[in-house]
Every structure is written in structure tokens, then in C-alpha cells.
Symmetry: C2
């Protein structure tokens, strides 16, 4: 692989200082003159009809400026996830939400909202809203909701009762024949929990509307342009009359705000329209838990046919996911679950069937991994069983079956690079794989090692539309401005994009500024998700930078040729390059002129260097192998993870520190997915753990030593060989820990999180069966 001078360097983060000093840079920090504060009244019932709602007393409370509910807001249907932008034909975007409806479908569903002079008054006013509910039958499990006798939650649907969208079916080869060819068939079902994104900043929006009705929204969305599309359609104004922007940062996303920030934006806008003043909505943590999308829980059934030597002959997956009360991205999540599940390994005969089913729980939507963690957890936990049964080294069975460059799979793009073998080898070395089976497990605390592999995507296509546009302009002093519609939600995007532009253009990092996430400063861009920013937006800024570099060098060549000084005469553009803000002759490095001088001269001739890129990407598979070293206290069921190692084929790390940070953050979420994190509901559909302390979000203190290993591969679809890394950090962590727990205590789990209680009970059960 080529060596670069800026790309690949551990440069400090652009957004580091501002965040370190606590600068006001999030939506909740936005304060506009005359701004009101809003609070939302939410349903206490999982399913009910609003027979009557009386907001009179709330409206009369001094300091209340506006009260809205289903009676005085649009009844237009929409989807808080930007399916109108993302959903690719022939799939049809599902719209099944209203700002407020006269039916509520989960505990936390929106009933009304108040804008008032202070948050306290708004909160007080909520208590004065009188609502008469007629309770309706409810259902919480997707398998139950899929039964004929289940209550009908959304009325007649094109694809069947309680089905928000299409079933996804994938096939390769002949699945029947595959099983016939197998020496062994393994069949298991895995139950996956409701995980919550737990991003630091809760859902937030500040809306202001000018006298002509033009809407401006400061928003915590990950996707300003798609958000604008939803809001413009919902409020029936042209896209050009809505502005959505980040202020300038977002306090984490993890998928929860692809599209809108739950309903923060539409509620803020509807209140601002009514009150004719700016309105701020900031969800509290409890609301964020109950009323913003979660990861899809559900069931993954897995049937695998293998030869004696461990070669796969058939793989069948069936998934039933809980969509929750509204569709969000349920269709697309299925697509990813199926495709990633089938594409991790080569297998000639494959089959996938998936559905998502409406229930009366918080809607499931996008969360980091978007189907991949569910797939990998099942596949890699089962593969551990297969390897053990066949007596094959766990590493070897993964290597034997792993995807090959150009290998056949269900995806419409090609696998053009894979360094999974290196990931397995380097990860195994780092975790100390050789110690596996050698621990002294005679005491009550037993130690084990496990591993698991995974793959994912570098952008959203073919599951959603994916493309990127960007501006890169050289300013009149030779500094550079990049404008992109993608936000900074903690991923270091401004630093990474600047490194690619700096490398391409020869302008030093200190002179590059990145304007982000403002629909009025950037061309359309689908935002930060699908591990796509570095890959797709990176392509776009690199392309635009190359364009302005070419223009600047052409101008410089003309300028130099015009000059009398003979050292510059007839300078050929091919001979010129830009290095550290200087335009230099490659053939004679003593010939140089500053880019600044060239841009000043260009300006006098009315010449500007404005680069516009339009990119429609291919896709590229990142690969990863995770390793866990755990100790299980068999007397309490407590799992202590001693170390997690994650070796990732990232293509190329533009900024290794940022890439490691992404992987480590993913490991933390994977740790929680495996061991502690789960939203639980009581029998009335109420969430039991609506706070970090109750939800058991792991903290830095809980976490083991994390070791991220970057493995590079020569991915040809990206100018700097980048592959996606935003989501991959957690994809195989749960399975690695499951396999390590088995290695320690000899008990298999088919359900996560493996809480202390579950492990303790399982150990008791296994003791009983031994008796």
C-alpha cells in the first residue's frame, strides 16, 4: 500500500478542544431570543384510544404559549426514520406515524405537547391536560403479534396483519441440496434483547419559523438533509423552505437519529407555528429511553449444513424481529441481518427469510450494526458449537469458510479485499489463544477464551440509497473550506475528511476548515450512518479536492508561464504539484511559488477554485475477529471480562487513533449487549429500566482492557483504501464473550444478555442435570 504524509497519521481531533472545555456546541445549548420550552405528554398505556382530550386548563396556565395534540396538528403520516429518502424501489417507504394520533400504541407514545416560558411551567401544564383513554388489547412479543389471534395494532396492511413492511427473502444455490450434501446439520434459535443506543445527548431540537413560514431547525439528527425531507413533506412546504442544521455537534447517535430525533423536530415546529416563537424540545433521559428507537430484539433461527471437514454446504436463517409500535427501519434492518449473516462465510446454498412484526413496545429502529450484531451473535455462537462437535480449531473453521475476493454471495457488489485471516491470527496472538484450555479451572472462578468473526458494510447501499455530494473550495489565501452535509456526532469526521483533503491537495491541516451538517451550506448528503462517512463522504471530498487541485495547478502553470523570470517559463502543469501549501516543480524542487500567491493572483483574474463532487459508491466489506478472555464466578454467576481484543480489517486507517476509538467504543457496546444491557417491560408494557443506572450501561470502570488491532488491506474501491469502521466494533463482541463463557463453564447460552442471574440459574440447572 502507498505511503502518505497526512493520511494514516494520529493527528489531534478537530473537535477535541471544544468538547474538552465544555463549549456550548450541542442542540440543548442553543438559545434563541424569545425561545419557549416544550414538554411532551406521553401515553401511560401500551395501546389505547384517546376518547377525549381537553387542553383548556393547560392553555390557561400563565406562561403557557401553546398546547398541541391530535386535534390541532396535521394528521399526515410520516416515518421518523427518513425512509422517504432511504428506501430503495421496489420497496415502498412505510409511513405509519403521526405527530399525534387518536390511538396510542406504546407506553411513551406522544399524546400532547406544551410550549411555555420555562420548562417548569411546561411540565406543570402537562398535568392539567385531561385525557380520557379507552384501553385496547396489547401484545409485546413479535411471535405472539404474528399470530392470527393477536390484536390488530395498525389496521389493514399490505403485507399482512401487524406487518409494517415487506418480508425479506434471499436465496443462493439450492438450500435443499445443500442440506442433502451435509454430513452434519446444526439447528438453533437465538433470542436477542432490546438494546438502547444510550447516546450521551438526548433527543433535541430548536425550531424557529420566519414570518414567511420558512422553517429553521437546530437538530440533533445524524442526517440533516433527509430530516429536512421528512419535515418538508410533513409540514407541506418545499424542501428549499426548510433548513436543518447541527449546532454544530451531536452528542452521539449510534443510529437513533437517522431521520428525525424521534419527534423532537416536528413537535418543536408544530409548537413554534402555533406560538409564533422559537421552541426548544429536549427529551429527558426517561423519554429518550421510552420514546426513541431501540435496537431490534427478536429471534434468529439458524440451520447450518457442514461437511466433516468443516466446509459449509447450507445455511438457512429465519428472523422474526420486534418492530415495536412503528416501522422505522424494520424492513431495511432485516435486509442487513440477512445479507450480512449470509455473507460472512462462503456457502454455496443459502436461504434467508425475515419479518418484523408490530408490537406495543417502543419502536425499534436503527442502531449501530443495524442487523449485523443479531446475525453475528447467532452465527458465531453456533459456529463455536459446530467447531467443537467437529473437533476443528475454532480459528480454522472460520478461516476455512471465510469469504474470498470475488466469492459468490447474495450482495450485488463484489468482495474486493479481505484480511480476515490476519485479523484472526493477530487477534488470537494478542488474546493469548494458546492459553485456551490450559487455565486452572478447579476453583469456583473459571476462566475461558472465545472468539467470533463478523463483517459489515461501508455504506448503506444496497439496503438504502447511498451517495454523497461535497464542496471543496480553495479560498483566496490558499486555505481550504470543505462543506459537507454529514454531521460530527463524535466520530471525528472533520479531522478525517480534512486529512484526506490535505493529502490530496497538499494544503496543511491548519488551513482546512470543514463546514458540516447544514442543509443551506452543503449539497444533499444522506448523513452519518452505515459506517459510511469516511468511505463515501471521504470519496466525495477527495474527488472535489482533486478537481480544485487540478484547476489551481493549471492556473499556476499559466501564471508561471506568463512571468518573465525564466525559471518559471513554460512550466508544464504535469510537472507541478502542491506540497505544504507550495506549488513546486517535480523536476526541479527549487522552482516553487506559494499557493497563496497563486490564489491571490487568480482572484484578480476572477478565477475561483470551487470543487463539487458527486459520488455514487460501490460498497466494501470490513472484516473483524473479536476475542474475549473471561472469568466466571460460578458461585454468583458474575462474568468478569479480563480482556477484549478486536482485530479489524479497516482497509486503511486515515487516523489510527480515531479508528481505535471507534473500535473501542464498539467493544463497550458489545460488552453491554453480551452481559448487561436490556430494556425490560412489565406486563403493562412499561419499561423497567429507563435510566443508565437501571439499564446497567457499562461505564469505563466496568470495562476490561480493550485492545484494538488495525489490519490494513488494499481495498480498491476507495481512493485511500478506506472501509467502514463506525459500526463494526460491536458486531462480534457478544458472540466472542458467549464462546468464552462456554469455554469457562461449559454451559451454552442461546440468549443475551448473559446476566449474573441467568448464568447463576443456568449453572444451577446444569448441576441439577449432572446429578
Amino acid at each position: 500500500m502507498k505511503n502518505y504524509s497526512v493520511v494514516g497519521k494520529r493527528l489531534p481531533r478537530y473537535d477535541g478542544t471544544q468538547k474538552a472545555v465544555g463549549a456550548p456546541c450541542f442542540t440543548s445549548d442553543v438559545s434563541l431570543p424569545g425561545m419557549l420550552y416544550a414538554k411532551v405528554l406521553r401515553s401511560p398505556y401500551p395501546h389505547a384510544r384517546i376518547v377525549n382530550i381537553d387542553t383548556t386548563k393547560a392553555e390557561q396556565l400563565p406562561g403557557v404559549a401553546a398546547v398541541i395534540c391530535h386535534k390541532n396538528t396535521t394528521s399526515k403520516l410520516f416515518n421518523t426514520s427518513a425512509t422517504i429518502v432511504f428506501t430503495l424501489p421496489p420497496l415502498v417507504p412505510v409511513k405509519d406515524q403521526r405527530i399525534f394520533d387518536d390511538v396510542v400504541r406504546y407506553v411513551g407514545d406522544e399524546v400532547a405537547a406544551v410550549a411555555a416560558e420555562t420548562e417548569e411551567i411546561a411540565q406543570e401544564a402537562l398535568k392539567l391536560i385531561e385525557v380520557e383513554y379507552e384501553q385496547l388489547p396489547s401484545v409485546f412479543d413479535p411471535k405472539e403479534a404474528n399470530k392470527e389471534e393477536a390484536p390488530d395494532l395498525q389496521g389493514p396492511r399490505e403485507h399482512g396483519k401487524n406487518l409494517p413492511g415487506e418480508k425479506i427473502h434471499l436465496e443462493l444455490g439450492d438450500i435443499q441440496k445443500g442440506f442433502e450434501d451435509a454430513d452434519y446439520i446444526f439447528e438453533h434459535e437465538f433470542k436477542l434483547p432490546v438494546q438502547k443506543q444510550c447516546q450521551m445527548e438526548t433527543m433535541a431540537a430548536v425550531a424557529t419559523i420566519d414570518a414567511d413560514g420558512k422553517i429553521t431547525v437546530y437538530s440533533s439528527t445524524q442526517t440533516v438533509h433527509p430530516s429536512r425531507a421528512i419535515l418538508a413533506d410533513l409540514f407541506d412546504v418545499p424542501y428549499s423552505k426548510v433548513r436543518v442544521l447541527s449546532p454544530p455537534f451531536i452528542g452521539g447517535g449510534f443510529g437513533v437519529r437517522i431521520g428525525l430525533s424521534a419527534k423532537a423536530e416536528p413537535i418543536a415546529i408544530a409548537l413554534a407555528q402555533k406560538a409564533k416563537r422559537p421552541v426548544k424540545v429536549v427529551y429527558d433521559r426517561e423519554e429518550d429511553f421510552t420514546s426513541s428507537d431501540t435496537r431490534h430484539s427478536g429471534y434468529v433461527y439458524l440451520k447450518t449444513g457442514v461437511k466433516k471437514d468443516g466446509t459449509f454446504t447450507a445455511r438457512m436463517m429465519k428472523a422474526v424481529l420486534n418492530a415495536g409500535a412503528y416501522c422505522s427501519f424494520s424492513t431495511e434492518t432485516h435486509g442487513v441481518l440477512g445479507c450480512m449473516g449470509l455473507s460472512l462465510y462462503s456457502c454455496p446454498n443459502q436461504y434467508y427469510d425475515g419479518i418484523a412484526v408490530y408490537t406495543n413496545t417502543t419502536p425499534s429502529g436503527a442502531m449501530r450494526g443495524f442487523g449485523s450484531p443479531q446475525a453475528s451473535t447467532a452465527i458465531e455462537a453456533q459456529l463455536d458449537i459446530i467447531a467443537e462437535e467437529l473437533g476443528i480449531d475454532r480459528r480454522e473453521i472460520s478461516k476455512k469458510n471465510m469469504m474470498k475476493v470475488g466469492g459468490e454471495w447474495v450482495l450485488p457488489y463484489q468482495c474486493q479485499s479481505i484480511a480476515l485471516e490476519e485479523c484472526i491470527d493477530q487477534g488470537a496472538a494478542a488474546i493469548g489463544w494458546d492459553k485456551k484450555g490450559t487455565f486452572d479451572n478447579s476453583g469456583s472462578v473459571k476462566r475461558g477464551i472465545g472468539m467470533a468473526c463478523g463483517t459489515h458494510v461501508s455504506n448503506a447501499w444496497p439496503f438504502c440509497g447511498d451517495y454523497s455530494n461535497a464542496y471543496v473550495n480553495i479560498q483566496q489565501d490558499g486555505s481550504v473550506q470543505i462543506a459537507v452535509g454529514s454531521p460530527e456526532m463524535g466520530t471525528g469526521v472533520q479531522t478525517t475528511l480534512s486529512q484526506m483533503v490535505s493529502e490530496t491537495l497538499g494544503v496543511t491541516m491548519d488551513k482546512i476548515e470543514v463546514t458540516i451538517a447544514d442543509t443551506e451550506s452543503s449539497p444533499f448528503e444522506i448523513g452519518a450512518h452505515a459506517s459510511r462517512t469516511c468511505y463515501v463522504v471521504g470519496m466525495a471530498v477527495t474527488q472535489a479536492a482533486a478537481q480544485v487541485k487540478k484547476e489551481a495547478l493549471e492556473f499556476a502553470a499559466k501564471l508561471l508561464a506568463e512571468r518573465e523570470s525564466c525559471i518559471y517559463c513554460a512550466q508544464d502543469v504535469q510537472d507541478l504539484d502542491i506540497v505544504d501549501n507550495m506549488i513546486v516543480s517535480k523536476s526541479n524542487p527549487n522552482k516553487k511559488i506559494s499557493l497563496r500567491e497563486v490564489t491571490i493572483q487568480a482572484q484578480f483574474k476572477g478565477e475561483q477554485f470551487i470543487g463539487v463532487a458527486k459520488v455514487v459508491p460501490q460498497n466494501a466489506p470490513p472484516w473483524l475477529a473479536h476475542f474475549a478472555d473471561v472469568s466466571v464466578d460460578t458461585e454468583t454467576g458474575k462474568v468478569t471480562v479480563n480482556k477484549l481484543v478486536a482485530a479489524h480489517d479497516v482497509g486503511r486507517a486515515i487516523n489510527p487513533t480515531i479508528v481505535e476509538g471507534q473500535i473501542e467504543g464498539g467493544l463497550a457496546q458489545g460488552y453491554g449487549y453480551a452481559l448487561t444491557e436490556e430494556i425490560l417491560y412489565d406486563e403493562n408494557g412499561r419499561q423497567l429500566n429507563t435510566g443508565f443506572h437501571k439499564y446497567m450501561l457499562p461505564t469505563a470502570v466496568d470495562l476490561p482492557e480493550l485492545q484494538a488491532i488495525i489490519v490494513e488491506s488494499d481495498e480498491p474501491t476507495h481512493p485511500f483504501n478506506v472501509k467502514g469502521v463506525g459500526e463494526t466494533g460491536l458486531i462480534a463482541t457478544a458472540a466472542a464473550i458467549m464462546n468464552a463463557v462456554y469455554d469457562a463453564i461449559g454451559v451454552r447460552f442461546f440468549e443475551i444478555p448473559m446476566t449474573e442471574e441467568k448464568i447463576y440459574m443456568a449453572l444451577q440447572e446444569s448441576l441439577k442435570s449432572c446429578e
Copy 2:
């Protein structure tokens, strides 16, 4: 001329409602969390050295966050006018100002500034700053300042003592021979006053600086990108690390804030850097009078050679202008004065010499007309004398000598259209020229009619660099977003630009939005001045719109060809057009598809329609004839203007209502220039009239009937035949009124404003000489 469906229509103004309802849309409305308020201490002396300045007590006042003066701010030189951007080689940009200096050079010059929790505290703190001045000799008249014995105000200068910049010299033909060929020679000198822009919004800026030092300034500037250039250079950061934006409107400009808003921006930034909080600076009206640029006062000497038949043989102009204490645009103003003065009429032998001279008055800078009113006042007042002496009809002598298409002149571009004759004829008819000389002037109130002609530019080139860049994007719903760096300062630019884009693109006005004046949402643009926005920025948005239209039609043609429905098959792109948001076949208007459907389909293929225009304009001369009908009360000297008529060759009026508004506003300023407006200084260099009431700014009540007549001509350099109209409304008004006053009372004035007192005194004088 071609007929259009949107261009040429009297559509309502985009910014009308917001301004009518008093929406908070100016810099003074900006309020940021934690914002401080600043006040500025100004020099009470016209010329002094600051021997000592002690800010200790001010700093100790509770509520004071920062105090700055020359001791703790950069001593870098700059120019509040963006000469670093505008001044074209071989001229060199003059930099002669500091934020604060240890020498003050006019009453109102900046000495120190305070940022505090409230305006009141800041004001109080100013009183606690102790300054010890050593007074220095001062001079107020440019001719005096140009003498050898004058005090030296700025130290050694390249072009001579007290000369801020280069002398401008222009020549055509042989001036000596021209005078030899003349039958008559006329020689006069005219004295022109200090006029003030009197824009409604005073100078204002709000600066905020992030933790990494990136500067954001909400500013009342007319030129966000050039302002950014000044500020970036001054504060030594890359251009890309400074953002300047309008919030979103400006309350008038008239040239006073080309570049910075006086020193509002640098003072706000320097205080924000020191206080580490946002800082707001809003000048009060008195400060705006004393400490922001004025129109250049001075002397125009005019010597004209004519044949008996009225043909000009020679024209010599010499101008000595008062630069005031700092250079601002003094060099460029001279250029325009000379070029416009020489180019109004054809004359084979021409000569111009001009200088601006430093004095100890408020700096002179850009003001609507930028040299042209000074030139036209002299030329058209003298031409009245010539016509009378030669016994030629005043209209005819203008027509006989007027510039011809392709005629020789000192300008580097061609005159390609002129409808001055129609302007003279239509204006004369409207004023009732035939009544001239027929009024019953036997009483003490005497009536007269006068006329004057003028010309100007449609952009700043060749006096400054001029070019424009713009984005025009079709959104995913077929609506359109325009992004330009030019501001809305009252000229209706968003409406006018949208009309041109609507006409070009076939998208209706309600779907078009214009993002203005934000350095981060637009490519470089030199801003609103030189009557250039409609002409140059209009060219840019039209060009970008044509580009995206072509792209959209090409995509539509492909899309239609792919469709099975045979009516669309093999649709040829040449056959397609966009009309009212529908893509239609020109050959079969029944074949149509909405642009919205096409853009949605395009999006699914990752296709975006992003238009970027880069325009380097030619220039085009607007022409005008102004007519005044006045009554003079010879007992009091009071002039009552009965009617003003202004007939303007505007090329084409994109929105006639807006064009008429521009002309009428100009007439009001021309009325004041002729009769009432003048900044006067006492012997200590203090302005005597620092408020609208003292300055005698004419109000709507004072003004006569104003009639704007639009004359269109087929200007070929603009896609819609536009010529500049922003400044022309006042260029010939003063001369027309001067000539009307002479027609009424038979006394010539060689000085404006013709105040009641001056007219009364002149009448007394003429009575004496008759005795």
C-alpha cells in the same frame, strides 16, 4: 426584446413580510448566550498623540469583562474597506488603519473599547478610562492639506505627503488640440459637500470565537467574503477559519459597509478574544455619523471646449477630494469620478487628473454613486451654462454629444447599448418641459425646470476586481435552492435573483429559496455594491440554473426513454423543457412529467443537480436623465421641489417595482445632496450635525412627487439584458435641481447643498450687483 413570464413581473418582495412585521432580522437583533455588550471610546480631538492611557479603573468596574486599546491589540495595518480584495494591480491596496493607534486623526477616531454585561456598564466604564493626549496640528480642507506647509498626518507616503494613494490620470486624444479646436471654452470649479449614507441600521457586529479560535461574526457588512478576508488577515488566521454572515438582513448600506462595518467587526472580535465570550457592538447614530465613512467632498474643476454648434472638442477635469483621516476607497473613487465624468458624452480629447488628500475629518469612502454624483453635478451644471450661452436647447446639446454604441471612451469595455435619447424625451414629456420659460415668475415665488444626465456602471470592474460565484441546486422535491454570498440590504436581491432563476429553470417562485451572505454557505462573492448584484450575481445564478436545467432534462430524457409507456419512448432531450415545475415535450405538450417525480427518481440513482457558476463580467453603462420642477421663494431662499422625474435606461427591469423603488430612493438622496444634506465641522474638527434631525435628512414628508420612468434597452452583455440600477437614482438629481433653480431665479450655484441660507444670500448678492 424577448418576452418572459417571470422576469419583468411586479412580484412581491421575498423579504417584505418579515420587514413589515418587524421580525428580528438585523445584526442588532442577534443575541447569543453569554453575550457581552461593547462601547467605544472615541477621540475628542482631530489630531493628537495618546501620551498615556490607563484602563485600570474601567477594568475594575463590576460587570466589565474586557477593555482594549492600542496597548493590548494588534498593531497590524488594515483598511476597513476591502481594498485587499478589490484593488486591482498595478494599484496597491492601501492599509493605513489600526484597530487602535497611539495617534488619533479625527474626532471620533477609536481610542479604546469596553465589553461589559450591559450597555450601561460599558458606557459607564468608558468614563473611567484615563487618556492623556498631546494635541497635534490639524487640517480639514483637502486643498490646504495638499500644501507644503500643511501638517503631516500619516508620515512618509509613497505618492507624496498626505496622499493616501495614487493620483489617477486619464487621457484620450490630444487635450491641447481639443481646446485649440474649440470655439468656446468654459471653465468652472464646483465644490461638493460631505454627504452621509444615513442607512437606517447603524454599524453593528456580533463576534463569537470557539475554543479553537475559529471566529464567527454576524455583521452588517455588504460584503461578507471580502470582510472575512480583512478580518482573517488582521487577526492572522486562515480565511477558512473566519465565518462572516448576515443575520439575515442589513438595514441599508449605500456603500458605507463595503468591507467592514466601520470597526464594529474588529472591535467585537478583539473584545471576544480577550473576554472569551461573544461580544456585540452596535454603533449609536452619533458614532455612525462621526466614525463611519462618508461620501467624498472636494473640488471638481471642469474646462470644456465646444464648437459653436455645441459639439465638444475638449474636456478637462481635475478633482481634489477629501480623503478624510484614512484612505478607504479614495483611489478607486477618483477612478470612477474621472471615468464616468469623461464617458457621459463623446469627446475626442479628454483629460483627467485626480487626487485625494488626507485631512483630519471622518474618513471618506464608498457611497452610492462612488464619484459619479460628483462628476455629474459638475458636468451637468456646466452644460446648462454652455447650452444657454450657445443658445441650444438643453435637451439637444445632451443628445448631440451623447455616447454612441461602440463610441470611443476611456473605459476598457464597450458601450453596447444606450437609450439616453428616449430617457431625455420621456423625462421631458413627464416633467412638462414645454412649460419651461412660460411660468408667471412675477411674484416672489419663482418657478423653473431643469434637467441633467448621467451614467454609471453595472459592476465594479475595471475600478475593482469583479466576479461572482453561485450555487443553484435542485432539491429532491424539485424545489430550488440558490446560495450566493451577496446580502439583502434592502434592494430585493432575493426576489430579483429568484425571478431570473425561475425564468431560466421553469420552477415557480414559491419553490425557490435564496441563501444569502454567509461565507460558509456560498462560494466567494464580492458582495453588494457598484450596482452589480442584479447584473453580475444575476448572471451567475442564471448560468448555474441553466446548468442544472440541462442536467435535469438529460436525466429526464433517459428516464422517459427507459419507461415502457410508449408516449415517452426515445424522448429527445432537445424536445424537453421545464414549464411551471413540469417537464414537457415541446413537440407534444400532452407529454409531461413533474420535475418532482424526476428529482425523486434521480435521487434513487444517486443523481443530484448541483449547479456552480463562475462569472467574470464585462460591464454595461446605464443611462439616465433627471428632471426637476422647482419653486423658489425669493424672500426666504426656500426651494420647493414640485416634482422630480427620473427616466432610466436600465437594460431590462427584472422586477419593475423594485427598480422603481431603487430610482425613487436615489432621487430622495439626490434631493438631499442638492438642497439640505451636508456634514459640517466646527473649527475644532467636530461634526456639527450628528443626527438625522440636525443633518436635515429629507423625510417622506419633505419629498416631492417622484416619477421613475423605466426605459429598456437591448443590453447584450447580460442574459436578461440587465444593467445596474442600484446607484443611478441620485447621480444627476442635484444638477437637475441646480439647473431648475437657475431657471427659476437666474442665479447659478457652484456649490451644493443649496440651502435656504445660501440661496437667500446669493439672491441678496445678485440684487446688490443689479443696483
